[in-house]
């Protein structure tokens, strides 16, 4: 079985000369299709940087990153743009919803531009917000807003769903619900999800855990039997 993602000696350096910061150093790993991957690491380890490179939001400095056959290092700005548009869904710690649009419109915003988009209302139904589609973000709780953000990412029907600290701003219970959504998504669609977190406790839910420290891969382990989110306590 071929790898869905293969990263080889990926290096990301910010700035030049004496001010240069190397956020990722020679990172290499492989991700198989249908995996729920968790990238773990302390603050400043370089997790977000790695995720941004994987999501085509940033150029890598050297090495190679291949996602679903696309060589990201070879893409120009517009190429990355198209890659983001067609293949990637993003979920952030801060939900980044457009305040002026209703829930359903926020999801449509993404669905509009994706080629194989799923219906916005359907996506919202999946995250359990069917009744709130006409509400504006300000009328929703943080968890609900994050669910809208997830629905927005899922509506694009992407090959790869990336989440950077998706539960960072949420309480324990709400966070669990969110993580459940990701796990369900992977199981139901067979697509890939990568979650970046510094919460070591959620490790058991993943198929694959990559630990990053100081910009380098510290550990790369696969979980033969992932635990359902509901059974994890932290």
């Amino acid at each position: 079985m071929t790898n869905f993602i293969s990263v080889k000696n990926e290096t990301k350096r910010y700035g030049t000369g004496s001010h240069a910061v190397t956020a990722n150093k020679n990172i290499s790993f492989e991700i198989e299709p249908g995996e729920l991957t968790i990238i773990l690491g302390a603050s400043g380890a370089g997790k977000s940087t790695l995720l941004n490179v994987l999501g085509g939001m940033d150029h890598l400095t050297s090495g190679s990153v291949n996602v679903n056959g696309v060589e990201l290092g070879e893409l120009d700005k517009r190429g990355l743009n198209t890659y983001r548009r067609k293949q990637v869904g993003f979920v952030f710690q801060f939900y980044n919803l457009v305040q002026n649009l209703t829930t359903v419109e926020n999801v449509e915003l993404a669905a509009e531009i994706a080629p194989d988009a799923i219906d916005a209302v359907q996506a919202l139904t999946q995250v359990g917000l069917k009744d709130r589609i006409e509400n504006f973000p300000a009328q929703l709780s943080g968890g609900e807003q994050q669910r809208v953000a997830i629905a927005r990412a899922m509506a694009k029907n992407p090959d790869l769903l990336l989440a950077d600290e998706p539960t960072g701003a949420l309480d324990y219970k709400t966070g669990k619900k969110i993580l459940q959504l990701f796990q369900d998504f992977v199981r139901e669609t067979g697509k890939n999800v990568i979650i970046v977190t510094h919460n070591l406790m959620i490790r058991p839910m993943a198929d694959h855990v990559i630990e990053i420290a100081d910009g380098q891969v510290k550990a790369d382990k696969r979980n033969k039997k992932p635990t359902p989110v509901a059974e994890i306590e932290w």
Partner: protein
């Protein structure tokens, strides 16, 4: 501007009114003038129009004024000796000090009115009586316009009696151009004219008795000498016959003594007959003298004694005043828009500044500063901005701009330096508005922010929450709208204030550009329509039908027999005027009564102003030009008062109103004229169309005509054209300044608003980028609404421009000119095009800003 003029008038003591007369003023006339009430000073002088020898350049030569309408010597000195002259400053390029200039009479068979012909130039001068550089005034000589003027000593004139008087009011009731002054001048002038009319009557009566005596004594003398000559000549003939018989008898008798005697007698007889011949000659002169006296008596009715206020005797004074008024019109309306825009921009900017300082405010509050202390920081800042802005603005507005405008405007006038008026009032208003928009805005914004608890204040301001919009409630429509338009609709109505500001800004720019270009267009159409479509003649030549028969015949011949003339028709032509209640200005009217009613259409197209149907002259009333009817508030069927130069009024019914773009005209047929004036309209003029209507050939023809003894004046169509073209030239710079500043302001509005919009929505834009929107899509996400607003602004602008243009054109053009309503589509296209170009420029810079946003950076922070 007015200040400058007022100061110069005061310095030269420009006469308030001028009394002119067609004949010289005798002691009694002068006494009458001196005794006029309301007059403080009266100064008498001489004036005569001559031409420079061997040219057709008409010059007005006047005696040196001492008290009123004094000269400003620019070079050299005043004329002291009888052989010295001071010329107008403009001629200093053509003549040098010390050079000789020789004058000649402009008409055959008349004199210059000066003792000498040649004068030495001793100086150059300007006078406020001749304000306009290029058109000094009209004359009956040369091409019809003065080429220059000169001042000589009183003793240089051949007549000892003056023919002009300059007067100064006891109470001028204010400065030149002020309503109170102009009103006083008008009412007093009207009163004076009545007095002078009375004096003129007695004067004419006196002259008539004088002439009658002269004529009757001359006639009886001629009678007597005729009889004497007759008897003498019969006696001579008899004597001659007798002597011839005697001589024959003496010869046949061969009587030598007798022959000698008879021959001697014959010799004497010859002497007597030559004496008789001499008597016959003097009889002839007496006869021609008598004829002259009779002709003079015929022309007695032409003798006038007129008094005119500055506005009427001084074209420059009038035009300068009108120009200043024009600037007032523009100056009143444009700044209103500028202020509006400026207030809006500073208001939004200040609010935005307070918003941006929010976290700082929160920190300060958390550190224990009181609300007042935090507020003070903003107030100090905004007051500083407002004051600095007002100071800079005042410098620009009171010093720099007036200079530009003044230079543009007075290019045609003889004013040297601009006197700047410190309009404290405007500065104060400006400062108040500036303070209101900046200080009030920051105070309001800061106050509302300070109400929030400091902890919350330290977080960024939450974006304005989404809300339902009206459009959404119209379900069928909303459902049909494409997604991007739904988003646009929401954004549009999110910030209503900004929405209106954008529309106003864009609309203002478009409207001002349309108006600016429209003013130009409209004035251009005046020229094009008046001289292209309506007026088909080049000039009117007026002669005196009461002059001696030969002189009249010669003057007529100069027109009828000229090979320059394409066609011509005879008419009665008179200068009359009308006044309107409540206005102090006279509308000068050309009254025309064509001799042949079906030929007029070849010279002037009289068309109904509404239906454009051809009009013909009827027995039931006059055809009146459109602008005159408008100024008089007269419509078809009303009557208007036509006044002669001496103020006598005649009532005429308006039978039709004709389209006319420049000048006031009243046309009547002969029967109707007879009815109104109670006398026949004896032709005294020709409407002339020349083969070549270049200014050179028109001038040459006019000069040729004006040389005729009976010539009175020529009225060139080109002169009106020149006036309008001049105004146009003056306005162009002004309009440019206005249009450029309007466009710049709108650019600023558009930029500020879009900039704020983009800055506030950075997060949104970053989200779009992360989602994979292409740069173009991101731009359009923001710009679709801006474009719609710009479009709406343009539409509103076209409407507003149309109205504003109509409003300006109602006030701006000279009183004699009528402006074609409406705008050319080219103008609209250019204005709209420019507005679009401007907004594209803003869009271009905004696009760069939008595209350079670091999406990751923006998304890192909290919501």
């Amino acid at each position: 501007m007015r200040r400058t003029a007022q100061k110069t008038y005061n310095a030269e003591r420009l006469a308030d009114v001028k009394v002119t007369s067609t004949v010289s003023l005798n002691a009694k006339d002068r006494e009458t003038v001196r005794q006029l009430s309301g007059i403080k000073t009266a100064e008498f002088g001489h004036t005569t129009d001559v031409v420079i020898k061997d040219s057709q350049h008409a010059m007005r030569i006047q005696s040196n004024p001492n008290k009123l309408s004094k000269l400003t010597i620019t070079k050299g000195r005043k004329a002291h000796a009888t052989n010295e002259v001071v010329l107008n400053d403009k001629l200093s390029g053509k003549y040098k000090l010390g050079q000789q200039v020789t004058f000649a009479s402009g008409k055959t068979g008349s004199t210059t009115g000066l003792k000498r012909q040649a004068y030495k130039i001793v100086g150059f001068a300007t006078s406020t009586e001749f304000l306009k550089k290029d058109s000094l005034g009209s004359t009956s000589l040369g091409s019809g316009t003065l080429y220059g003027f000169g001042y000589v000593t009183k003793s240089a004139f051949s007549s000892s009696q003056p023919n002009v008087a300059r007067l100064a009011f006891t109470h001028p009731n204010g400065q030149a151009y002020s309503t109170s002054y102009e009103h006083h001048a008008k009412t007093l002038t009207d009163k004076l004219q009545k007095k002078l009319n009375a004096r003129n009557k007695t004067r004419v009566a006196e002259l008539r008795t004088e002439l009658n005596d002269k004529i009757s004594s001359g006639e009886s003398q001629i009678q007597n000498s005729k009889a004497a000559i007759k008897t003498a000549s019969t006696q001579l003939t008899t004597a001659q016959q007798q002597l011839t018989t005697q001589l024959a008898a003496a010869k046949s008798a061969n009587n030598a003594t007798a022959i000698a005697q008879v021959e001697n007698k014959l010799q004497m007889l010859k002497k007597q007959s030559s004496a008789l011949n001499f008597k016959r000659e003097s009889l002839d002169t007496a006869k021609s003298d008598l004829a002259k006296a009779k002709a003079t008596r015929n022309q007695l009715s032409d003798i006038t004694f007129t008094v005119e206020s500055r506005n009427n005797y001084n074209d420059g004074y009038n035009n300068y005043g009108e120009d200043a008024q024009r600037i007032d019109v523009l100056g009143r309306s444009f700044p209103a828009f500028f202020f509006l825009i400026a207030i809006m921009v500073s208001f939004t900017t200040m609010q935005r500044m307070v918003d941006e300082k929010r976290i700082e405010m929160g920190t300060m509050r958390a550190l224990g500063y009181t609300k007042g202390e935090v507020m003070r920081e903003f107030l100090v800042y905004s007051i500083t901005t407002a004051v600095t802005g007002t100071v800079l603005g005042s410098a620009l507005g009171l010093v720099v701009l007036p200079r530009i405008i003044f230079r543009a405007y007075t290019a045609n006038f003889n004013f040297k330096v601009l006197l700047l008026a410190p309009h404290i009032g405007y500065v104060v208003v400006g400062l108040i508005l500036a303070l209101a928009s900046t200080v009030l805005a920051s105070w309001l914004a800061a106050r509302s922010s300070l109400k929030i608890i400091p902890a919350e204040l330290m977080l960024p301001k939450p974006p304005v929450n989404g809300s339902r919009i009206l459009l959404e409630r119209i379900k069928p429509l909303w459902r049909k709208m494409s997604f991007s338009y739904k988003v646009t609709a929401r954004n549009l109505f999110r910030y209503k204030g900004r929405m209106f500001m954008t529309i106003i800004g864009v609309a203002g720019a478009t409207a001002l550009m349309i108006t600016g270009f429209g003013i130009r267009d409209s004035l251009n159409t005046i020229v094009a329509r008046q001289f292209g479509d309506i007026s088909q003649y080049d000039l009117v030549t007026v002669y005196n039908p009461n002059a001696s028969t030969t002189a009249v015949r010669k003057a007529q011949g100069a027109v009828k027999n000229s090979n320059q003339v394409k066609r011509t028709t005879a008419a009665y032509f008179a200068n009359v005027y009308a006044t309107t209640n409540g206005s102090d200005t006279r509308e000068n009217i050309a009254l025309m009564v064509p001799k042949s009613r079906n030929q007029l259409d070849q010279y002037i197209k009289l068309r109904d102003y509404k239906s454009s149907k051809k009009l013909s002259l009827t027995d039931s009333g006059a055809v009146v030009s459109q602008k005159l009817a408008k100024l008089q508030g007269a419509s078809v069927g009303d009557t208007i008062n036509l006044k002669d130069t001496d103020g006598t009024a005649h009532k005429a019914r308006v039978a039709a109103i004709t389209t006319m773009y420049a000048g006031h005209y009243v046309y009547m047929n002969r029967a109707y004229y007879q009815k109104v004036y109670g006398k026949a309209a004896t032709p005294n003029a020709y409407l002339v169309t020349l083969k070549h209507s270049t200014s050179k050939s028109v001038n040459a023809f006019a000069s040729h005509f004006n040389r005729q003894e009976a010539a009175v004046e020529t009225v060139q169509s080109r002169e009106t054209k020149k006036t309008i073209t001049n105004i146009l030239g003056n306005l162009n710079n002004l309009i440019l300044v206005l249009v450029v500043s309007a466009s710049l302001l709108s650019l600023v509005v558009l930029y500020t608003l879009t900039n704020i919009n983009v800055s506030e929505r950075m997060r949104e834009l970053s989200t779009l980028k992360v989602l994979g929107f292409y740069p173009r899509e991101v731009l359009m996400y923001i710009y679709r609404e801006t474009n719609i607003l710009t479009g709406a602004g343009i539409l509103v602008g076209i409407g507003a421009g149309y109205l504003f243009h109509a409003y300006i054109m109602d006030l701006l053009p000279p009183a004699t000119a009528m402006v074609a309503p409406g705008l050319s589509w080219i103008n609209v296209v250019i204005s709209v095009g420019l507005t679009i170009i401007f907004s594209l420029m803003v869009m271009y810079t905004m696009n760069r800003k939008i595209q350079s946003v670091d999406m990751l950076e923006a998304l890192k922070s909290v919501d």
